[in-house]
Symmetry: C2
Subunit: 449 residues, 2 copies
Amino acid sequence: MNTPARLAHPMTRKRVVIIGGGFGGMTAARCLRDADVILIDRTNHHVFQPLLYQVATASLSPGDIAWPLRTVFRSQPNVQIVMDEVVSLDHTAHIVHLRHNTPIEFDALIVAPGVRHAYFGHNEWESFAPGLKTIGDAVKLRERILLAFEEAERQKADTGKQSRLSFVIVGGGPTGVELAGALLDLGRKTMGPDYPHLRVENLSITLVEAGSRILSELDPKLSAKALAALHRMGVTVKLNTPVTAVRAGGVMLGDEWIASTNVLWAAGTKPSPLLRTLGVDQDLCGRIKVQPDLTIPQDPWIFVIGDAAHCLDRNGTPLPGIAPVAISEGRYVATLINEDLPPAHRLPFTYHGRGRMVTIGWAQAAAQLGPFHTLGRMAWSLWYVVHIFILIGIRHPVRVMCKWVWAYLTCKPGARLLFEQHIVEHKTALNDQAAGRITEERTPVRRAA
Amino acid sequence: MNTPARLAHPMTRKRVVIIGGGFGGMTAARCLRDADVILIDRTNHHVFQPLLYQVATASLSPGDIAWPLRTVFRSQPNVQIVMDEVVSLDHTAHIVHLRHNTPIEFDALIVAPGVRHAYFGHNEWESFAPGLKTIGDAVKLRERILLAFEEAERQKADTGKQSRLSFVIVGGGPTGVELAGALLDLGRKTMGPDYPHLRVENLSITLVEAGSRILSELDPKLSAKALAALHRMGVTVKLNTPVTAVRAGGVMLGDEWIASTNVLWAAGTKPSPLLRTLGVDQDLCGRIKVQPDLTIPQDPWIFVIGDAAHCLDRNGTPLPGIAPVAISEGRYVATLINEDLPPAHRLPFTYHGRGRMVTIGWAQAAAQLGPFHTLGRMAWSLWYVVHIFILIGIRHPVRVMCKWVWAYLTCKPGARLLFEQHIVEHKTALNDQAAGRITEERTPVRRAA
């Protein structure tokens, strides 16, 4: 099918399909006011990823940082939510193929599937070193961490001794650093009083980074300060240390073996395998090399945004895979579609970063806002205020009793989440049950024309 | 071992082992001030069971109605928490055998393992008709219910038609009635706006009761009113209807087949198989027939309380398996142990019921307080106030932001729960990892003497 420079005749509403309900996809869907939008996600909820590490370390409940997409778009009738997995993209025929639903045709496509963690070709490591990208990951990680403390307590009761309760975190990026700090707080301040046999000296947290410094996206001075802060707190940081093996009992760093019942993975990321079906150039990490207008070379109406896009900033360096970038990419793409701009009239996408913030533990954070660099309590307060406001922006958190009153008075309970790891089995069950009902052959849904 | 009428020499602290951290076990542990208490539970948390149905119907999050036992007893150093499963009881040797930990000797034992659901000898029904006893059950049930709505929506999109979204609830007790009402509210008031294709007439909820009336523990007049209320709301109630078969696609009632993708089980209960190892008379439901002082005939220092105990009230009818009964049983037993009362000096346990309350849906409840019977909005407000106060009594619920501030300032996050269904796999994993460390032979722990 030959794609026109402009979308279908202006009198017909165009159909925009969005893959992924993360920050990029959700923002785009919010900004697309005059199109029929179909938002496809494997789960039924949007996750506030910057706070995932707090669910993994049991500071927050899943329900506090994730909420159903259907509720987010309740007041936007032009957005239809489809909970399903995209198996392939036919960019010539403009059709998206789904695992459970009938294929969907589109006028414009926004691909924002996000990323999973990469194990540098050692996928067998995943079972020993879980990562943190979804609510499901966070809940599993939380269980793993809590059980480690129970296990240590039991070991002491059984044997009278306690080997060091050792956590190894692979990857010195924001996630790794935030996890390390939060774990230390959890162990020392929260678990300490609850586990009579737990001694602070029995708790060991090691942060492993293959590169020469942690938080490499920050200014070198600031990341050096962050390193010092972690050291002061009692986190062992190993720089220039690639992981050579991960097994049940621990990790191999170069030729040093660190015994650990808990190896957490915060290192590499790899975009969804879905991107390969686009048949477009990908960078080393597998991200799609997009045009300045975030499209793929073959088609001016297929956009790739968020972590999945390899997009260069003004200095020619790729933009980081963070929420603010995804959000402004979503806005930009939505504008192009709303205004139905032909490629010739499009201004290239530009990102004006407002800064970076990373928490390093209790009342400790690093903040870099343009020329302004700071580390410590003030940066933390800043981080804290900013995030509370973003959270409130998306959803008002209310205390349990209010939640409850609310649920009864307005009938909008807040805990309607499906944890990813369960979906597949349930879907299958439901499909078996529904098999008798769904009989029609699955032909592409024709769009109004 | 010959058990003395009195416990070990008054100068030595006695060890009390409690099996189960439910209402009975938790209350007993709280009241045992001058003994070394070991509280054993398969999970790490106490669940506020009366609100489980609200987690299953997504009104509340797991973290709202469950909290870690270690935190509950943080300020009570004489209570030690052991997260493990009891595999058998040796009541002659006074030893409890655990799956993972070393066996534990005791001076006094309180058995409060609670119940699971019974399928009247058809355990194969469980996979098609899950029950609701633990947080794990509630989360699974919630996922099943939410996925049913997604599935119905998808069916409509695919086939243009939608078979009735049909829920069948087996059992007309409080749980069944509360689930039926909450499901109806969820479907009509909450999901309605979120699922464009969902029509109220497509939603069908059937409550099946084998007996001649629902809420049989209430006064007949009141349970008749409750039945009428359910009918008015649109719930189909089938009385005198035993379930003869449960399959993937629905249930067989007598010779009537009801197609349903969602059959929820709220009928029979059976106590933990553990009780058999006591070698004591059990009633038809498998509950232990206890003495007037809640002990087993062979031993004045082994108590059975809560759902697991078959205990007669003044009229000779067995006490119901509800929280208030378990709580007062826990208090009674703790007093006997605290005062080290020999059997001859013990007053029989008596329960003074304050009444019963059951919600029937939005602003609808049935309340029976002595002679005072009422149904409707007032009963609901009463139910509501009572439960909020009980909840507050155990833990102050705070809104997310406060939770968060709280977690940072006091380092006591509230979401530290392990969902039951994951524990086993993790434990095994952890044990493999710990195998190298735990070498000592597992000999019984001697108690101080």
